[in-house]
Amino acid sequence: MNFVALKMLVGDRAKYIGILIGLTFASLLITQQSSIFWGLMCRTFGQISDMGQPDVWVMDRKVQFIDDVKPLQSTELYRVRGVEGVEWAAPLYKGLLKARLSNGSFQTVICLGLDDSTLIGGPPEMVEGKLEDLRRAEGVIVDVVAANGKLAKPAATEGGAPTPLHVGDTLEINDHRAVVVGLCRVSRTFQSQPVVFTTYSRATTFAPRERKLLSFVLVGAKPGVDHAELGKRIRAATGLAAWTADEFKAMTMKYFLKYTGIPVNFGMAVLLGFLIGTVIAGQTFYSFTLENIRQFGALKAMGTGNGTLLRMILLQSLLAGTIGYGIGVGLASAFGLLTRNTELAFRMPWWVLAASAGAVLFICMLSALLSIRKVMRLEPAIVFKS
């Protein structure tokens, strides 16, 4: 009877397409919006992901997320180095500084100052030049998106194309001369500000005079030392906050979830997709069943049991669900591929796929349930009513 169920579903072209459209739409919207949402969330902790080396991040106890810098005494670095299980510890400066462009306008940049000797925390990918070039006098490495965009030299004439920043060009950061020695690629930040790398000591000369300039201490664990355990040890020994990279990412994301409207906005879009999908698919599936009610009645009269009818309806809705899900996720992936070189945040991890599969399954079950009630209660005697 599975064969009869499938033929019934596919045989009614218009209804079948309607059901598919509902399910496709729902899974597309849910997958796509969740992926954009997750893409944005990944941007919030993009700098943590970019720095692959540190196992543990040490910071002031009041720090709530990566951009929330509360400087430490520079002596904290040595206290951290003294903790059992620490293989290495490197200072990191992170601050917002003003860069002056050649036409005199200002652009705020995120300046990252790396440990002078090890350069730990450098960009994940160099486009031009080498990380070691930072050791050259006044050297900075600029992220390539900013070099082509926000930090590009404005056109000499009105309306002309700006000239991208190149290796050898100079910048002024907080009134200090800086020479571009390399271009790199970094994860886009949440506010999409330009990122400029330099050494820790040079960063502190760029930065306004302050008593404390050490933003984070990056820690590598000795082989075999559990990172979470090491964090705990550092917390106990120094009284500072110390989190593994994953913990720090989660903290950062939680902060954004809590204090920005992003989750609400995307939650609404996802919910809307879910609701619209449910209504379209549920409604078409239900009316498909209603329209076929005589057929179901005839099958019942001819000896089809309720269990078999239940299976038939579930099969119909699951088939429609699987196809709709496939098309929807396919469209969402295509969307992701087409926009991968743009500003748009889009990331489709497995759990987004699983969640939208779950949602589509739920929609299918719900629409099947409505129809099943109707068919279960159906009196086979209706077959003789004309």
């Binding site: 064969f3 009869v4 033929k7 045989g11 009614d12 000896g303 049991g305 077959v383 003789f384 004309s386």
Partner: protein, 238 residues
Amino acid sequence: MITAVDEAVVCRGVTKTYGAGPDAVPALRGIDLEVKSGELMMLVGPSGCGKTTLISVIAGILDQDEGTCSVFGEDVKQLSPRAKTAFRGRTVGFVFQAFNLLPALNAAENVAVPLLIQGVPRKEAVARGRDVLERVGIGNRWRSLPSQLSGGQQQRVAIGRALVHDPKLIVCDEPTSSLDQETGHKVMEILRAVAVGPGRSLVIVTHDARVFEFADRIAKMNDGRIERVVSSPKDLRS
């Protein structure tokens, strides 16, 4: 024409009332009826006299209020819902006025449905469906969808479907009412020729006087009762 004398259907004091209170409609008011094995029995009478209700009770798709109705020795009302469904699947073939074919299935597949319900594998069921279509005279149209067939051809498919699993009882409600006179006559001829046989009984509801001649016996109903049972259309008029 009666080839066996044992009783296929025995109804005793069957009553059925639709609704309750002031809206109650008594459709059957005490039916006593026997249908013999191998017999073609017609139920006739004015509109609303309870023919469809009675045939529904006999076919096991509607429970009577009182009285008993046994079909090949089985008191159908007493069966559990599951057993009743299985009993219908095995024992009863249906022909409807509106054909009730599945529009998405071709003729052979439609005929195969009762076999599919009983779990016969699809290939075998459809092959047997084609054989039966030969017997009702439209073997060459086995691939056609119902929408591609005329009314008479659709009803032949429906007759094939009622026969394919070799049920002992076939019930038909107005099988010829949607067809023109000539086609209706043809359909009755086929029904008579292929469906009636030893050990199989047909109960046909009709008010089409032109097909009365195909009956072995005719039960005339009126207002929820059997008025009389005759063996020839001529006796109805007297």
